[in-house]
């Protein structure tokens, strides 16, 4: 009756309908029966699905390279984006530049503005009889916060679409990449002429200091590519986390009550739990740097590897309480929703702040709403996964 594990492995495709709507049973089969599997899809790639193998691979940057072919399968049709798509000393040098842009202290400075942005959308929406929690709320919040961080005041109408097409690898990605780079280049030039306190201005004033090399200012091209990454990484993922959490809360009114009564620590634990459970990044790709054997599987240099953190987040061997359930006060919660090791998400502190503020705002009226139609929730999957449309109506 059930499919053979050989067929599941060979045909595993993180872009297909099953990956979008109901990926979990397939992940569970892989974890149990083929935790390191070879898929023939998307040019052929290894899939690592078990929690402990995932954290091992993410830390073993000598064997699993980000720089050879980037962190998506297939590779994006744009130049490699620092720091994420660099290895070793160059990666470390780029991270030293980007870490302070989104550190916990830096995020704390943005909190009042983020609250204003969130409430500016949430309050009117909660007065309506119907709205789309993704398209009318989460998408706008994440886009406005990204623009706030980058100091963008007049984004072109198609910015979101270009970024989405590139992240979700759909439509004309080459064209989306060109448009996004052209826009960001213009922004960087603007900031060079009149700097502000935004992240782009900070990058322009920063020295690149790589071990064993002479320090130098970041080039225009580097600032552009780092900015493109900040745009791509923060939009869709945070939208998915906010949308997925709201979906859960709508289906679980008890959780709405518990969360509304939670203290600061309760909120922090809940936010990490929502990141674990929604897992907006299905996986991060690597490329085998040298021939190796990884838990019995012979891997050749150049082969692609999909390190499937979202499956690790559902690994029953890594979490004491059923990982398929949301446990609002799960502790400890060593999820890999932001990755693990040296390439761990630089924007995690911002993402968690956005998620918490968004959910706090929504909880003020969410109890009066229900899903318009569970069948109408639109999921989309690629290297990332999330809800595209979440229509709600007043009860």
């Amino acid at each position: 009756m059930s499919e053979s594990i050989e067929k599941i492995a060979q045909e595993f495709d993180h872009y297909d309908r099953e990956s979008a709507a109901c990926p979990w049973p397939r992940w569970a089969r892989l974890r149990k029966e083929a935790p390191v599997a070879w898929s023939e899809k998307n040019g052929g790639f290894w899939v690592i699905s078990r929690y402990d193998y995932i954290t091992e691979a993410l830390r073993d940057t000598e064997t699993f390279s980000n720089q050879l072919k980037g962190v998506t399968i297939p590779s994006k049709p744009v130049p490699l984006l620092p720091p994420s798509e660099f290895d070793g000393a160059a990666h470390a040098a780029y991270r030293h530049v980007s870490n302070p842009l989104l550190s916990p202290d830096k995020v704390a400075e943005y909190l009042p503005r983020i609250r204003e942005i969130v409430n500016g959308y949430a309050e009117p929406l909660l007065k309506q009889d119907a709205f789309d929690a993704t398209a009318d709320f989460a998408v706008h919040v994440t886009q406005d916060v990204t623009q706030l961080i980058l100091g963008i005041t007049d984004a072109p109408a198609d910015l979101k679409k270009s970024a989405e097409d590139l992240v979700l690898m759909r439509g004309d990605r080459e064209d989306a990449g060109r448009r996004l780079f052209a826009f960001v280049t213009t922004e960087v030039e603007k900031r060079r002429k009149s700097p502000g306190k935004d992240a782009i201005s900070q990058l322009l004033g920063t020295m690149y200091e790589e071990d064993g090399k002479e320090s130098r200012p970041l080039s225009q091209d580097e600032v552009v590519r780092m900015t493109v990454l900040l745009i791509l990484a923060g939009l869709d993922t945070t939208t998915s986390a906010i949308s997925g959490s709201i979906w859960y809360l709508l289906e679980n009114p008890e959780a709405q009550k518990r969360l509304a009564a939670a203290d600061e620590r309760g909120w922090r634990l809940a936010v990490d739990e929502f990141v674990r459970w929604t897992a907006p990044v299905t996986g991060s790709a690597r490329t085998v740097a040298h021939d190796t054997v990884f838990h019995g599987c012979p891997m050749r240099a150049g082969e692609r590897v999909f390190v499937m953190g979202a499956s690790g987040n559902r690994d029953e061997t890594a979490f004491a309480e059923d990982p398929n359930k949301v446990v609002l006060d799960r502790f400890p919660n060593p999820h890999v929703g932001f990755g693990m090791g040296p390439h761990r998400c630089v924007g995690s502190h911002l993402a968690k702040a956005e998620l918490q503020i968004a959910l706090r705002a929504m909880l003020k009226g969410l109890g009066d709403f229900r899903l318009a139609d569970p069948e109408r929730i639109a999921w989309e999957a690629s290297n990332v996964r999330g809800i595209r449309s979440l229509p709600l109506v007043r009860k």
């Binding site: 030293h96 830096k106 502790f331």
Partner: protein, 98 residues
């Protein structure tokens, strides 16, 4: 480890390349900075004890932090660390030694 990145923290001592220990208290805390991934959850659990270096993206222990006065919070920080990078440094087989 970039020692200079901790220069603002005065009394911290580096015992070896990747381990630092705050040395003035009966119970000490050790952060394995080669493992630390910058989650900053230790700082959330015990802000009186743990800091965060925004350049290196690594946790640190405040100079002069009264570790023993915040044992419960420190215990939560140790248990909650997703990288298992924090340990009491007099605990024999500390968890940061793999």
């Amino acid at each position: 480890l970039d020692i200079n990145s901790f220069s603002g923290l005065g009394t911290l001592q580096h015992l070896d390349g990747d381990t630092m220990t705050e040395t003035t208290k009966p119970m000490q805390i050790k952060i394995d900075t080669s493992r630390c991934g910058g989650h900053a959850r230790c700082r959330e659990e015990a802000p009186e004890v743990f800091g965060y270096d925004s350049r290196t993206n690594k946790a640190c222990v405040h100079a002069g932090a009264d570790v023993n006065a915040h044992r419960k919070a420190v215990e939560l920080a140790i248990r909650g660390c997703p990288e298992r990078a924090i340990a009491w440094s007099d605990a024999g087989n500390s968890r940061s030694n793999k």
